[in-house]
Amino acid sequence: MFRLFNPGAVLSFLQSSYNVRKFVTIFTVLGLLFMTSILTGGNATAQDVLPDNVESSSALVKGLKTFWYYTGFSSVSWGNITMIVVGLFFIFLAIRFNYEPLLLVPIGTGILLGNIPFIEGFQIGIYEEGSVLNYLYFGVVKGVYPPLIFLGIGAMTDFSSLISNPRLMLLGAAAQIGVFGTFIGAMALGFEIHQAGAISIIGGADGPTAIFASSKLAPQLIGSIAIAAYSYMALVPVIQPPIIRLMTSKKERLIRMKPPRAVSKTEKILFPLIGLLLTLFISPTALPLLGMLFFGNLMKECGVTERLAETARTRMIDIVTILLGLTVGASTQANVFLTGESIKIFGLGAASFIVATAGGLLFAKIMNLFLKKDNKINPMIGAAGVSAVPDSARVVQHEGLKNDPSNHLLMHAMAPNVSGVIGSAVAAGMMLSFLM
């Protein structure tokens, strides 16, 4: 017998909890639609509540298209991807190999920030007037950050090794051959004279000075110059040792130097004052850099402004480093940065570091020809004449220990190292006064 209604089957259907839930949901939706029709006072149907099928798909597509247009994926270029890879590489170098992490992490992150593609006109990018990054970048473009960094460097540097053995200052001067060599090289590569002047400061191995000079001489090249200078500064432990080994003999590397004499407090206080007056009278264009450097050192040495010196060498320099690193990194927007000029600048930067290191080493060897046998200098400290403080001094110390585990050269190497800072600032001042 055929039965139309089977209560057992209905019961088993309801008993299955999944089906019950499905049923309740459908019932609720239909109930809501019915309620809508009552509330609106008309015969509303599902078609009335939901928009027309065709229209809905076009609006959805339009919305999705707009969303896609505003995402970074729609406007990404190979340049952006390349720069993002470079940024990630910088961060990797800093974290994995500890190469100048305080600089490379902010710069690397800045490169990532600067190369996220975006739609222009919403005050987002670093080159868009009114954007947050643009305001922060102001400190780079107008050369505000470098003197503040110099203030911090002054407040953390001990010049006593330089005061105790002033003749080592010559090595800092000799290494500035890198600056002038790069200047000639940049001119030969077809750069305009102001651009060449700005690029040349990379040879001083001094990031803040290079940024300061390029902000005045060639603002459009700041990104490339800063990235080149800081990258090579981070790579000092890689670049310098082979040149040192190539240019010095084993015997020379074993030379022990006399321990530096003790320096009185009066001498330490007089150093920044005399240094400031003397160097700035000779090269007043270096005033923002050297003025701040010596001011910071005076705060450190005078003994009555310890609180200010402490702030300058810790919090303040840290804040400025963060802002400087991040904005310099962000300034490498692919469309501005990835040019033939940048590649040339990178090439010149590498050459200038090599020339500067070699210049310092060579001059130290020449100096040894004129010094008494018991008063000779270890020519390796000439490599510290480039002003990457204190990295190149650390490289010399490391190389010294490799040759003789009891020969500590750090104190001696600090003298040319800090005089390199003074020398590169004077050189930048000279470039500015000739070319501005």
């Binding site: 200052m169 001119m187 321990p259 004499r261 009185s264």
Partner: protein, 121 residues
């Protein structure tokens, strides 16, 4: 076609290079001179002061007047210890503190070795 290098005013470049490099050298050489002279001037003042007080002893030897870093470090350490009184001066109050441990069968062998049996409580 004019070569790119021909368009550069090379005499100007050489002048900038030569003058710039010599100025860097001059600035640092002047600093060297000043700082070579400074200890002598400062010592001269000290010498005068000592002579006035009659404490000055003429140094006739060729011995250099500088103290090695290690010696300085040793003097510095001694002074620092002296001024911060971190020497061997103790409080001079001697008290003998009796240390008693509860008897425990877990470590009972050690009492036989030491021949001291803690009091049972």
């Amino acid at each position: 076609m004019i070569h790119i290098l021909d368009a550069v005013n090379w005499p100007q470049i050489w002048v900038i290079t030569a003058v710039g490099y010599s100025v860097v050298f001059t600035a640092l050489v002047l600093l060297i001179l000043v700082f070579r002279l400074m200890p002598k001037v400062l010592n001269l003042q000290m010498k005068r002061k000592l002579k006035r007080e009659g404490k000055y002893v003429e140094n006739h030897g060729d011995e250099e007047q500088y103290i090695a870093g290690e010696v300085n470090a040793a003097i510095g350490l001694a002074l620092s210890l002296y001024f911060s009184e971190m020497h061997d001066d103790e409080s001079k109050i001697i008290t003998i503190k009796r240390v008693e441990r509860r008897y425990s069968p877990w470590s009972s062998k050690i009492y036989n070795i030491n021949n001291v049996l803690p009091t049972r409580r």
